[in-house]
Every structure is written in C-alpha cells, then in structure tokens.
Amino acid sequence: MRSYLPVARATYMIGLVYRFGFLFAIVGNLVYLGVAYYLWKSIYRHSETLRGLTFNETFLYVGLGSAIFILLKTYADWIIHYEIREGAIAMYLTKPIDFQIYALFANLGSMIMNVTVLTIPTALIMTLIFKVKFAFGPGLFLFPISLLLAFLVSFSIDYFIGIMGFYTESVWGLSATKEIVVTVFSGALIPLQFFPEAIQKVLYWLPFQAIYHTPLMMMTKPDQGLNIFLPMILVQLAWAAILFVLARLFYNQAIKVLRIAGG
C-alpha cells in the first residue's frame, strides 16, 4: 500500500496545478445552490415538513449533495477507457503494480484535493449566504467514513465501466447512462424520501443509494442513534466490497482476453 501513496499525492498535486478550474466549479455550485434554494422554498411554501424533512434539512441535503458531487464523480471510467484505447495501459502492465489499487489511489488523491478546495468552500457558502443550520450528533462523526465508503462504491462502478473499454471501442453511451442512473437513483438530486414508496423500496436494494443518500442523511439528521447509522454503514461496506471484488474479477478476465487476443 505504501508504494501507492505517492500516486495519490501526485494526483492531489495535479489538482493544484489546475487551480482555476475550482473557481469556476465554486461559481457553478453557487448558481446551483441559488436555484435549488428558491425551488425548494416554493415547494415548502405551504408546509413545515414534507416526507419527514424540514426545508432546512432538504436544502442541506441538496446543497451538500452538490458539494460532494465532484468528489464522488471519479471519472475513472473515462480515464481508464482512454488509457486502454490509446494503449497507455501497456505502461502499467510492465510495472510491478496492481492496476486497480493504482487507479484507486490516483482517484483518491484528486478526491481529497476536491474536499479541500470545493466541498469545504461550498459548505461555507451554504452556512454564510443561505443560512443553513447544521445539526449536531453522532452522524457528523460517521460522515467522513460514510463518504469514503461512498467513494469506494462510486469508484468501483466507474472502474468497471472503464474496463469495458477492452471489449468495446467506445464507452460513451454506457458512461452517459450510468451518469444519469447514478445521479437520479442515488438521491444526488432529490432525497430518496421524495420518490414513491414502491420505487424507494427498490432503490434501497440497489448500490446507488450508498453513494449519495447514505452520507447525506448522516449530515441531514445526525442526531439519531447508532442503531440507525450502523446498518447504513454496513450496507455501504458490503456494497463497496462486493463491487470492488466484481470489478477486480472483471479486470482479470479482460486482461486474460487481452493477453491472448492482443492489442
């Protein structure tokens, strides 16, 4: 593991090289927060709570969702697909590294970068400009753990799609579809509570809710007991492990095909 840390450090540094991108991302988030604020304000005009959430809670959920959106979007699918297409993958195959762990750490570096320059400023904007109140409770402390697990789930899905590049010339369609599915079914745009009951039931059985819904609920309603939070974390952990192993098996299979069919 120690040998991969410099990789995370390197991608963190690359983030710093392109520092102006973040300025635009923050401005973008500011605009999004403004729109979301007035949209949800009008939805909440006649009622104090909807689906068990107050306006403050819903806006906190949605706003924080936009703050962590960039973290959990790993772009691993695009990067890996590109490397396969361009044949750059050969570079990795001649090095004593495990490609999946390598890719994971590479993404981890840019994720941590994003926390410092995007998530924290966006959260500050929410409290200072939109006067969102953060509640206090054990959820606050579990949030970082949950976020890391969410990142693992998201990474494994993206990595899996990237590996498809061995079989298909373009993963554009797949990636675009995945993007929409993840954004909607994970609760990144709207809290899952707002979906119809029947759909909610299905969504809780899918891995996507582990990406946004779980960590965001910990911040939205942090003052709940561990009997609520612990199962949520365990479900995330299970999905992270399952998807990581599945992606690994898929990679091993793809590499075997590559070794025989050539590239």
């Binding site: 120690r2 410099p6 540094m13 195959l93 001649t94 590559l258 069919a261």
Partner: protein, 340 residues
C-alpha cells in the same frame, strides 16, 4: 543460462474481417468471419546478460509483438519464452521488477507534474531505497544534466528532453533488462547522439541487457554488437553486426533532381556512369518519386564524392540529398542472400 531464452515462439491474432460500407458495418455487428494473422511465426534466440541487441525489421515484422511477449503483456500462442528463467506472463509483477521499458511514442512520466515527481513515484513503485535512488539520480545528472530539468513540468519538455528522462527513469530500479522501443523516433541528430551515449554508458556501468528496436540504422550501428533482423514473424539474420554493417554501412543513396528530366535522361545517366566508372561499379540508378532519381552507391567500390562531382559536372542538377540506406532496402538485400 542465458538471461532471455526464446524457442519456437509464435503469436497468432484473430482479426475480424470488416465488411465494406455502412451495410457491411451493420452486418459485422451480428456476424463476422475471422482470419488468423501470424504476427510472430517462429522465433528462437538467446540473449546473454550485458548484451545490447538491435532488434530490427520493417513495419509489421513482429518486433513489437515479440517485445510485448517478453515484457509479459501478451501471452504467446506457442513456444517457450523465459526471462531470467521465468515466463513473463505468468509472473508479471515479479518480472516487472527486473525490467525497464521505454515505448518511444509514449511516456511513463506524469504529464502535468515536474519531472522529479515521476522519479519519486517510480522510486516507491519499484521500492528503490534512498541510497540507490540518490546514487542513480547523481549518475543521470552526470550523464545528461537532468538536474536542470527536474523542476520542469513534463508537458513543457522538448521531445528529446522527455526521451532522456524516460530512458533514465527506466534504469532507476536497476533492472536486468531494458526494452527500448524506438527511443530516437522523431529526434534530430544531436539529441540522437546524446541518447545513444546515455544508453551506452548505462549499459556498461550496470551491465544491463538492452533490447533495442529501431528504424534508425544509425542507432544500431552506434550501439549494438549483435543484431537480429526479423520480417514476417521470422528471423532473417541473427549475428554479429559487422557483416550487416557491410550492407548498409557502405551504401549511400544520392538523391538527385535533374533539370529537364525525361526517361532518356535516366538512360543517359546509367550509360555515362558505366562509361566513367567501368563495369562492376556497384551503382544502381532508379527513379523513385516524381522528379527524384536515386543513385545508390556501394562506397566500397566507388567513392561517393567521385560520383557526386561527376554528376554535377555532366548534368543540370537542381537539388541533391544524400541519405543512408533504408531499413526496407537492408531487408531486401538480406532476402537476396547478401549475407550468404
């Protein structure tokens, strides 16, 4: 026991026959006929530790495929391949530790970061200890003055600087064998010379085995004691460079652009050359591209300068170029039995 042992190695690819046009592309979606391509048909050789071997051949000869099998990227269809006693594709991570690879068209450096960061990453990936790392970095600096480049972003390096860094990086972990695939491609003469001397010094300092594939016969001449020529997946020649040297070392092609050129000019040129230098002058004349006439000269028999001054005196020459014999011509000459 030789460092690299290859016997009866072959690699076949299955390739989908693409049909023509839009309709054909649709039909290819559902069914397709495959044809087998023999990228490597039957190759055997042994390479000892410390050798620099030139592995050459025209485009599509199977060079890259062989390199990919030696580095463990591809699994052979048949035959035996062992590097340091182990099959590369079965022991990839362990084998990668004793190999260094440079693909001329790609870089292993981090594009967006200063050069030194890539070296630091490689240090951890290959688990190079600090003392060795410092020693090697000192050596690289001594050889090509890399210190000056360390703080530069890789993307801002020139192609030659990048290649020097890439080659140095491939030697960082003290590998037993380094594969250099077209290391001088697209570089000018002075940078080529720098790269050649770097390779040569690293080879002699660490006794590192080097397998060099290239299109530039100058590289081979400057670096290798032994040369393996392959074409169509088979070995044409494997042996001392001196014999092959006689083939391309002595030959130069004089490219001429002659004023008012006609078919007759070509014939006159031929006749006059024979008249002046006598039969068995070792000169062949052919029109290659439009307006250009190629006069290939065997310098062992007729000095180039004599031919040049003769042509200049007797013909209205607009432009002249002198080029080394091409890889394709060497291969053709080998086919023609030039090496016996």
């Amino acid at each position: 026991m030789s460092l690299i042992h290859i016997k009866g190695l072959s690699k076949h690819f299955k390739i989908l026959n693409r049909r023509e046009g839009l309709g054909g592309a649709f039909r290819d979606l559902f069914s397709g006929s495959y044809r087998t391509v023999e990228a490597v048909a039957d190759i055997s050789f042994d390479i000892e530790a410390g050798e620099i071997v030139g592995y050459i051949g025209p485009n599509g000869a199977g060079k890259s495929t062989t390199i990919k099998m030696m580095t463990g990227i591809l699994k052979p269809t048949g035959g035996v391949i062992q590097v340091n006693g182990l099959a590369p594709y079965e022991n990839r991570i362990r084998q990668a530790q004793i190999m260094g690879v440079v693909f001329g068209q790609r870089t292993q450096l981090w594009w967006d970061l200063p050069v030194i960061e890539s070296f630091k990453i490689l240090k951890e990936i290959y688990k190079v200890d600090q003392t060795t790392f410092d020693k090697h970095m000192g050596l690289f600096n001594e050889l090509v003055g890399l210190n000056a480049l360390y703080s530069q972003q890789v993307r801002t390096l020139s192609l030659g600087q990048r290649m020097l860094c890439d080659i140095a990086a491939s030697f960082l972990h003290n590998p037993q064998v380094v594969f250099l695939d077209e290391p001088t491609i697209g570089l000018d003469i002075s940078v080529k010379a720098k790269i050649r001397s770097l390779i040569k010094t690293l080879n002699s300092e660490r006794n590192t085995t080097i397998i060099l594939t290239t299109h530039d016969l100058g590289d081979v001449e400057a670096l290798c004691q032994r040369i393996i020529i392959i074409d169509k997946g088979r070995i044409l020649y494997d042996g001392d460079i001196k014999r092959v040297n006689a083939l391309f070392g002595a030959y130069r092609t004089l490219k001429l652009q002659i004023d008012n050129f006609t078919e007759a000019t070509l014939q006159t040129l031929k006749d006059k050359l024979t008249e002046c230098f006598g039969a068995g002058h070792g000169i062949t004349v052919a029109e290659t591209e439009e307006f250009w006439t190629d006069v290939t000269i065997d310098q062992a028999r007729t000095p180039l300068s004599d031919v040049l001054s003769f042509v200049m005196k007797n013909f209205q020459v607009i432009d002249v170029r002198i080029v080394e014999i091409s890889m394709e011509n060497v291969v053709r000459k080998v086919y023609d039995g030039a090496l016996g």
